[in-house]
């Protein structure tokens, strides 16, 4: 089998907090990412979803080595990213880019749009030249901004336009892989839809692979080929998009899907909301991290941490009772989904 473009294995990141109490020698440790593994193929989009604080953004930054992992391995195009020395790593960065959530904080206010877009190339040693300027104009064109805007500063643009500039910067160096870290979450609905489509167009045109990090399942569904659901630093379920939405196996995935607001008032119903909130990653619950909020939790869940296992082809889940829950939930989910489709047409 061909090696995937990106292979992440056993990725771990523990943040040590400064202890507020000096008498306790041991500093508290946040297990932000706790053993994550996945592959991304060439041209594939993997969606990474979860609530805020689940560690999904950290995963993106670990892969790009913007943060140094505590343990694990990241292989990109066959190369061990974590073992790379600074110089080759810098060189490789043109192949791996990132788009940020906040269009206001992600652009240097002192630079012009052209300087921002060309910065990754200039950082790699390119010299300013007319060709490079033309490349900036072409890239702007690709993201749907008029090239005549290239001498402006970021503050002259709207949020949606800034996000397009951020995308232009990410694709200017012809990367093969881009992390979209909540790239459309801060945008207005109508702009968000435009940017999601733009990201798809760019992917189709340039053959880029995305790690699309988001909290809105509905948005992720539209762009991802496969989806990984994270909870407290671990992946609890990973499957092809249709498979995941067709038959979510993990109770947490089901809860996330149930929490998404309905898209028509006729679909309002008394729904079983997931109880409680995300526990602190400083003191994760023993056993399955989700058990305090899980309606199906049993004794085993409180003591034994479930491993990610393959249930159907390409469908992995980390739940002791996934089979039973799937069988029980099949009827209700299917009817809800049918009801939804009916109301839509």
């Amino acid at each position: 089998m061909r090696e995937p473009l990106l292979r992440v294995d056993g990725l771990v990141k523990h943040f040590k907090l400064a202890s507020s109490n000096n008498l306790i020698r041991q500093k508290p440790v946040v297990r932000a990412v706790n053993g994550i593994a996945f592959d991304i193929a060439v041209g594939e989009t993997l969606g990474l979803v979860g609530e805020s604080g689940c560690g999904k953004s950290t995963v993106g930054r670990l892969i790009l080595r913007l943060i140094e992992p505590t343990a694990g391995s990241v292989r990109f195009a066959g190369e061990d990213v974590l073992a790379m020395k600074p110089a080759p790593l810098r060189h490789m960065r043109k192949d791996m880019q990132i788009i940020f959530q906040d269009p206001h904080a992600s652009l240097n206010p002192r630079l012009t749009v052209e300087e921002i877009i060309l910065e990754p190339l200039l950082s790699q040693g390119a010299r300013p030249s007319p060709e490079l300027s033309r490349h900036a104009a072409d890239t702007l064109d690709k993201v749907g901004l008029p090239a005549r805007y290239r001498h402006r500063h970021p503050h002259q643009f709207s949020g949606g336009q800034r996000q397009r500039i951020g995308i232009a910067r990410a694709i200017a160096s012809n990367p093969r892989f881009v992390v979209c870290d909540e790239a459309v979450s801060a945008l207005d609905v109508s702009v968000q839809a435009q940017v999601v489509n733009l990201l798809q167009d760019i992917k189709d045109e340039m053959g880029i692979s995305y790690l699309f990090i988001g909290h809105d399942l509905a948005v992720v569904r539209h762009i991802a080929d496969r989806i990984a659901v994270m909870y407290l630093g671990r992946i609890v379920e990973m499957a092809g998009t249709e498979s995941l939405f067709g038959a979510p196996l993990h109770p947490y995935t089901q809860a996330l899907m149930a929490a998404v607001p309905v898209h028509h008032p006729r679909l309002r119903r008394e729904r079983s909301r997931v109880r409680g909130e995300l526990p602190s990653p400083l003191r994760p619950p023993p056993g399955c991290h989700f058990h305090p909020r899980c309606p199906f939790a049993q004794d085993k869940c409180r003591s034994e941490s479930p491993l990610l296992r393959t249930l159907a082809a390409g469908h992995e889940v980390a739940c002791h009772f996934a089979e039973e829950i799937a069988a029980a939930g099949r009827n209700t989910e299917a009817s809800a989904s049918r009801e939804a489709t009916d109301a839509h047409h």
Partner: protein, 330 residues
Amino acid sequence: MKADAPLLSIRDLVVDFAPGSGRLPAVDGVSFDIGARELVCVVGESGSGKSVSALAVMGLLPETAAVSGAISFEGRDLRALTRRQWRSVRGQQIGMIFQEPMTSLNPVFPIGRQLVETLRAHERMSLRASRDRAADLLDQVGIPSPRQRLDDYPHQLSGGMRQRVMIAIALSCSPRLLIADEPTTALDVTIQGQLLDLLNDLRETFATAILLITHNMGVVAEVADRVVVMYSGRIAEQADVFSIFDAPRHPYTEGLLASTPDLFSTERRLTTIVGSMPNPAAPPPGCLFAPRCPLALDMCARERPELRSVVGGQQSACLRAEQMAMGDKP
């Protein structure tokens, strides 16, 4: 439901932050009502004027803003209130919650104390009684072990819990109207669901009307009785929630609905509204939505249409509202 006069009535509200500049006012001729116990959603994107309208109702606009129009609450003209009178209206008769509860809670006091202070500011009661009442309120907004929580500081609570505290404070004086400005936007979807349920429940227990400001059509679908859709400071459409979702009579509403990602759709591409909000410094001459509108005709670029009744209680500010029915969509 609305036997007599509405609880809140807004007529021809105009809010201009730069009068005389030729810029489009932030709010331009907005009129709508809220009946007792009704939940009205004002929906729109940033720059639509939805939050400014809410601030106007609460009397919280900066003094430099030029405001005209009428706002009456239980028959009382809110715009004629003195500062002193405002204090008895805000908090007591109109409660408020905002998007970011951390900035609305005082970080140096425990939440119990903040609740107790609000209670005692509006009503004579002993410290002990007010603490009991505070714990009750926290319990009612779904905060577990409320007694212990009274002594927590805001930073010790999660975003969702803080928002619940804000709701408790807002409801502490049993207001007739609760104004909630994007209360769930900063929260995770699971917590958002919990809070929407809570708001709906509280509407029953406290018999309060709710004015909910949101940009999220999903939130509207979940809780609204009636919907006011705003675009560039003006009302594009208003109707009961079913009419809005079943048969929108304004292309902007339709576009907003279509561009909202749908969890059950297998489409890869999202439907979009082309272009973006008009620049308030150089608005288009006719209908403000015309440059983005798939249905626009020549006349749309010349005339700025007023809000008018189309069918039943449904009002639209589109010249082609009548032609917009489910059947003849492209």
